[in-house]
């Protein structure tokens, strides 16, 4: 406990790194996931197959294995050797999370009535315009609750980085439990940190849901 109070800046630094990792991974995986979802519902068959393959392969791979590839296997082959650790963490987490985002968005797209796409095409919009101006804005509304769950899971998944060279919250927690006679307090403090981050995400999602609610 004394350690925790006297070195509280270390706790804050560690959570700041967790937040950076989660925020960057969140942005990258939502972008990548949206592209994947668009590929899967798009008219180009090879892209559909590519996106479906990516989703199925990566979704069936444990996150730990993805990390081992990015942090151990690739550097052994001479790839990503000079890449900063944070960037490698973002790469691993978003590569893994994108398929889940894609599937949530695809569910949202499927929830948009078919007539919308048909009407857009009838007035001469291209596939890109149909997606960007008609389908996705409506899809995102339906996607907010499942997407929030995916991003919350992703935030907690960043803790795997603790054993891949990134001193984020979980790694710092191990530093404190190694020294402290009373682990329980250390666990509680770090659990509280994660709860605060996740609650912020939940509140944000709730706000978006309210703002985008359809007036019925």
């Amino acid at each position: 406990m004394d350690d925790l109070t006297s070195e509280f800046d270390l706790v804050l630094q560690a959570f700041w790194l967790t937040i950076q990792l989660a925020a960057l991974s969140g942005v990258v995986s939502v972008l990548l996931g949206t592209v994947l979802a668009a590929m899967r519902v798009g008219p180009v068959a090879p892209l559909r197959v590519a996106a479906a393959t990516y989703v199925n392969v990566v979704r069936n791979t444990p996150l730990l294995i993805v990390f081992v590839f990015v942090f151990v296997a690739f550097p052994n082959l001479g790839l990503l050797v000079g890449t900063p650790f944070l960037l490698k963490g973002v790469l691993a987490v978003s590569f893994y999370t994108a398929p889940f985002v894609a599937e949530a968005i695809r569910a949202g797209i499927n929830a948009v009535p078919l007539g919308q796409a048909e009407a857009a095409r009838a007035i001469g919009l291209t596939f890109g315009q149909t997606m960007g101006s008609v389908i996705l804005p409506q899809a995102f509304r339906a996607v907010v609750p499942p997407l929030a769950s995916v991003l919350i899971a992703m935030t907690k998944n960043t803790s795997i980085a603790a054993v891949f060279g990134i001193v984020e919250a979980t790694a710092r927690m191990r530093y404190f439990t190694n020294n402290s006679p009373d682990d329980t307090i250390v666990f509680l403090v770090f659990a509280a940190g994660y709860i605060i981050i996740v609650e912020l995400l939940s509140v944000g999602a709730w706000g978006l849901e309210r703002r985008w609610r359809v007036a019925r």
């Binding site: 294995i65 590839f69 151990v72 052994n76 650790f85 054993v163 530093y175």
Partner: protein, 296 residues
């Protein structure tokens, strides 16, 4: 939990291919110490001592590490562990009249060394087992038979050669370990990994500048790759490896100390070192002076 994950990671490492997770330390070792197994050893010991029992039974169970090259390492296809710790075990067993092939080796990990001794699961623990006051409250520790300290393992072309040089560099070790804390205090950026072998990989592939932990462990990895790795800097902490025994058998201590002192004088200690950790190219150190045994 921790170790379940270690295995997953280890399996993944192998799958990932091109990895040096499993070295060959041990499998191609020279013979190590050519121990002279004592004859009629049981007669040497007083009645009622644990040593006499062991010598009469002809059985000895020794707990060693299976995952530290050079210290105690057993590859998947090896029959027995190899390394400096098993060599010390063979020296002790020989004094009881037990040949190396009759020793029962048992893998101990850092967390189960005290429980194994307390429950009698093993007779001795020789597993990079640092002597500390806390541990001496619950188990006996005779020795030290080897003294090491925290050092750095770097690529053979590295410029790091004193502890001041680590400022601002990236240094890996095991997440949450004291070594990682110490190096962070020296101004290095700590990079925690789950296992030492992952950490060595990071040094070998150039992702991090150095790895840090007990020098003995580092020497083991350097011995596997003497052309690509070297151990540098003066030890900046002191770890004294002892032989663990049960406090129920305090008479073991004096026997261990006497037997190891004899091995130090006869040169068996040097042979054991040269056949294992010494392969890293480091000079064989002076054997350490051992602590007095607590009065029984």
């Amino acid at each position: 939990m921790r170790h379940a994950r270690f295995r997953v990671a280890a399996a993944a490492l192998l799958l990932a291919g091109g990895l040096a997770a499993c070295g060959d330390a041990g499998s191609d070792d020279a013979e190590g110490v050519d121990v002279e197994v004592a004859e009629n050893a049981a007669d040497e010991f007083e009645d009622g001592t644990r040593m006499k029992e062991l010598a009469e039974d002809g059985k000895l169970v020794i707990g060693v590490k299976y995952d530290q090259p050079g210290i105690g390492f057993k590859g998947a296809t090896d029959d027995a562990p190899a390394g400096f710790d098993p060599e010390i075990g063979k020296i002790l067993a020989a004094d009881l009249g037990i040949a190396p092939e009759n020793i029962t080796w048992k893998e101990t990990i850092s967390d189960n060394r005290e429980p194994f001794l307390e429950s009698g699961e093993v007779d001795l623990v020789i597993a990079s087992y640092s002597i500390t006051d806390e541990r001496r409250q619950v188990v006996g520790q005779a020795g030290p038979y080897y003294v090491t300290g925290q050092q750095l393992l770097v690529g053979s072309d590295s410029d790091i050669d004193s502890i001041e040089d680590v400022k601002g560099t990236e240094v890996c070790s095991v997440t949450g370990s004291t070594s990682l804390e110490n190096i962070e205090a020296e101004g290095a950026r700590p990079r925690g990994f789950d296992t030492y072998s992952e950490c060595v990989d990071q040094v070998l592939n150039g992702t991090v500048d150095a790895m840090t932990t007990d020098g003995a462990i580092l020497l083991g990895y350097a011995a596997e790759n003497p052309d690509r790795l070297k151990v540098v800097v003066e030890p900046f902490s002191e770890e004294r490896y002892g032989v663990g025994y049960s406090l129920d058998e305090p008479e073991m201590c004096q026997w261990i100390v006497d037997t190891l002192t004899e091995a130090q004088e006869s040169g068996d200690w040097d042979t054991a070192f040269e056949a294992t950790l010494g392969k890293s190219g480091v000079e064989t150190p002076e054997p350490p002076a051992m602590d007095e045994c607590p009065a029984a």
